[in-house]
Amino acid sequence: MIKASHLSKHFKETLAVNDISFEVETGKVTGFLGPNGAGKSTTMRLMLGLDIGGGKTKFDDKLLQEYAHPSQVVGILLEAKAYHPTRTPRNHLKILATAGNVKLSRVDEVLDIVGLKDVAKKSPGKFSLGMSQRLGIAAAILANPKYLILDEPANGLDPEGIVWLREFLKSYADDGNTIFVSSHLLAEMSQLADNVIVIGKGKLIASTSIKKLVSTNSKSSVFIRSPKLSQLQQLFTDKSLIVKEVDNGLEITGAKTDEIGQIAFKSGIPLLELANRHASLEDVFLELTENAEEFKAHEAAKGK
């Protein structure tokens, strides 16, 4: 288990990370979410001791400095293009393997896993973002570490690459390893992560499982379509239900599909569609971080 306690970081007068504590469960994929500028990358760097700040992070009750070879415990991908442009991927990984006391034969193995075997001896200066991400993932899993800390690993990957990454990370976690991954792709995260940690403006907003987060932080609603919408809207309003016009229909909060159906039936109003609407991780994320966005688009610009 990763246990981060009281992480904090100042950049001059800005408090980038404000006394954050959380736990990352072993054998699971934990998503790390937050708006731009929320402090996700800084938190990850603090956990690894790359940034100097307050707090401690323990990996199986030990600080990273207490391990003889930290890279055998934690694999990292914090920036896709973290390699020298004229050093071949093979040499790049050989250096990491040497520094981390990993067998050099593992280099070709991981290049094969991430699909870069054919370009192993080419200069990576002109690699696409997707190829760079694959090289970063190869570096992260080089020592077969128990923990992976990945910052936006799906950035730049094509759809096939995203599916590959999802399957790979899931199987890596299934082997008993722990993955802590940040991403802006919320739909992707909802498919990948078991748990989620949400931060905003450097503060912890939520730390729970995705299922629990979605069920407790957002109300479900019922969607209906009917040729007599205005009559139905009046009926539901009279019964103190919250009614909103959406997508040529009504979204009703505060009642279940059975009750809505019965009300319409008793009033003799036909329904063309009656369906439950569950909030997505994206809905919950937007709700939770509504007031925690550092850089917000102007309302008028959003509408364009």
Binding site: G49, L50, D51, E66, H69, S71, A82, H84, A99, N101
Partner: protein
Amino acid sequence: MINTIKAEFKKLFTVRSTYAIFGIALLLVIFFTFYISGWRIDSADLHNPTTLASDITGAIDVISIFAALSALLLITHEYRYNTIMYSLTSVNNRSKILIAKILVITGYALLFTAIFAVLSPLLSVLGIDLHHLKLVPQIIPYKTLIWHCLFYGWGYVMAASVIALLIRNQVAAIITLFIAPGTIEALLYLWLKNSVVYLPFTALRVVLMGHPDQRITVGITPYHALLVFMGYLLVSWAVAWVLFLRRDAN
């Protein structure tokens, strides 16, 4: 620790710039020693018993900045391409990285200097021979020459490394390396006059060549110059070390 040193050696020898810089230094030495000091040697130098010794110090004076540049790039590449995060997360103590870099840089500096110290007189002699000229018997003070050259080469590289560690920005560090010894200290001569020998790079040149500038009448011995240079080097390395441990890795 051995792994970290091996990794640092691999970092140095797996980038194109190391070979390109060595190649440029080699071409310059061939041009100045084989062609200028050998093939086109003037008659006064043919009868000078210290010609080859001067060729050696001259070559080391010119090419040490190239070894220094390679060392500077070894450090600043880490920050420019953010591979420093891998370096720091592969060890349990940041000082190990610094010690490994110092050892690798030291080894490279000594090897680089030794290669060119041997190569430059050989190329001069070859140029002279091919031109069917004859050089008078030479006096080469081996012991003095060896320590002067190796210390100069090592000192230059260590100075470049500390500039790289303190500044971290690659372009700014390269500019500083190129203007500090020549431009800044030359300008300071206008103000400091003879005391300019107490500035780091001037002191380092005194170790290699004696008085670096004929205008200086109050000189110091190469031993004193060594102490002056080492004073600057130790203080700046101490500051760089503390900052390396306390600064964010980016």
